[in-house]
Symmetry: C2
Subunit: 383 residues, 2 copies
Amino acid sequence: MSSKPSSVVDALATRQTPELILDEGRMLRNVDRLRAHLEPLGVTLRPHMKTAKSIEVARRVLTGGAGPATVSTLKEAEELFAAGVTDILYAVGIAPHRLPRVQALRAAGCDLSVVLDSLEQAEAVVAASANAPIPALLEIDCDGHRSGLKPRDPAIVEIGHALVRGGAHLRGVLTHAGESYTARSESELVAFAELERSAAVDAAGLLRQAGLPCPTVSVGSTPTAHYARNLDGVTEVRAGVYVFFDLVMAGIGVCQIEDIALSVSTTVIGHQPDKGWVIVDAGWMALSSDRGTASQAVNQFGGVVCDAAGKPYPDLLLIQANQEHGIVAVRPGSGARLPPLPVGTVLRILPVHACATAAQFDAYAVLPATGGPLQSWPRFRGW
Amino acid sequence: MSSKPSSVVDALATRQTPELILDEGRMLRNVDRLRAHLEPLGVTLRPHMKTAKSIEVARRVLTGGAGPATVSTLKEAEELFAAGVTDILYAVGIAPHRLPRVQALRAAGCDLSVVLDSLEQAEAVVAASANAPIPALLEIDCDGHRSGLKPRDPAIVEIGHALVRGGAHLRGVLTHAGESYTARSESELVAFAELERSAAVDAAGLLRQAGLPCPTVSVGSTPTAHYARNLDGVTEVRAGVYVFFDLVMAGIGVCQIEDIALSVSTTVIGHQPDKGWVIVDAGWMALSSDRGTASQAVNQFGGVVCDAAGKPYPDLLLIQANQEHGIVAVRPGSGARLPPLPVGTVLRILPVHACATAAQFDAYAVLPATGGPLQSWPRFRGW
């Protein structure tokens, strides 16, 4: 259940803009949807907290109070651990200079694991494991997106041996189909999910054939998590932006516009009638400069513009953004009519990329699922 | 004077990454350069603090301890006022719901002025001026960039009368040649500066002919501020990014790469040798998604990659960025050689857009102009 439109409009009318509005009802539906999809597939969900960066969101997303969780920075790990989350995977390739912070968290009782894809990193982890073994997963490159070893690279076994021989813990393999963000159809999404699964399972097989342990086989991205049909051999799935969704995910077809739980409130501060422009007080400082839908079938520019209740206006977009100014106009060529939006009108803009937009704010202004006044949930940031 | 390269390298080797590194020596040179250019032109410099958002930077940039200063948010005004800055121009069109905060700052002793370009806003300012007049400047559109009234629009006089009649203060006119960022030659930069000057002076003339006051004639952007040859009739110039400069400004020709005072430190965390990729721990979370040089003659992608001492590698760029991962590679087609950059190497990346990159951090790690250990200068954020 979400807050009633009329009460939302009343609540936003008395607040400063821009704010990061979180519709808790939509968020809970998104969380339930992925849980329900993964449960029959027999895998653990390890939500990625890099999008939310919030203890209040973590409490509603993590399947258990203690995790499991995925993070993209040690700052996220430290904040979550301070709030009682103890099973954490740090899913960005480990930089040797971060190992003292990893050991400090582990010594305090956090089961923090790290990720690597080179012998150099394995040697650093081994050196830091002298008194207390650090668990490490090998990163596998399933789709050429970024980091990782190819699924059948003999270096997988070599690095696995180096870890075990040196006294670190080899916890398994991990992959992420970042290229699934380029998918253009359901069949492509299903294929990316299978690519992810088979790459991780192949790499796990290499380790096991060599007599090495591989208890964890971790895959995931929001698109593949929702379209995986078969996860045989996989033990856990990671996903992050599914909690909120955004216009990039809607463009891929993973969600509907109506599922997007985040928006940025803004106020009309001017007009350029000759150009059909409405000037608002949300620029890239509030929304980020992410233009992730520019390469999709439907370019949503800087975001979809909604009324204060959260209902999108037909073909009304944030077409340009400066630091604290946004320019709202109808989609070029759409023929849609610009609604009357006098100075002072409060609007809400759906984000292109939820992770990037949320990062511009220190708190969520939450529309509670049970109704009632907006609540403030702090966000953390930094590294 | 800047810190010695060898001591910088030593200092960075022991720190976490990514950090926002500020070379104070370069900053002070940039600050001196614009001061020296404007002094003989007989105008006041009103630096825009939206880029720096820092009291320590403000102390080195503002010509007097009390200002004058320009801001893009009331949060910046409140922070600067708390630090003793009392002459502040809030240069984003006023939203009526912000007027109580404006009045609170003014009641506390801050000479805060606002900007508007419509009768609706003027009426709101008049209504809020009942007990204490608010000073307002009329925003003029000199180049079709964004907000403002055309320089000869009769509405200028109409709104001016509405302010004066209603008991607000008409403080003058303001314009900003935002389109100067598209300039491709020195002659275009000079022409944009003159466009800005003449638009503001024309609008001021309209007001004065109608018997209205116009004490302030305010122009400015970093490109035009540096290329103005004649500022007759102008009383003050605003600029912000000149304090740090960035790759967009270097692309326009307003500065050299060697003048850029900001960089982001990062650590090598992996390689994809087949692709010529070096993976680093600075993604868009550290650098922003701004790609402002993509439309310039030389596309610098996500930033120019330097060694830890701050010296650029030939044609080495951040070619892609995810949230916490950056991909470093040589410029496509350049034929440059990828230097050996083992895991753990510390690099520094020059920002495409200093305002956007700085906004991703809560503090500057400052290389002091006089040498010595790095210092931390906090940044403020939010609205």
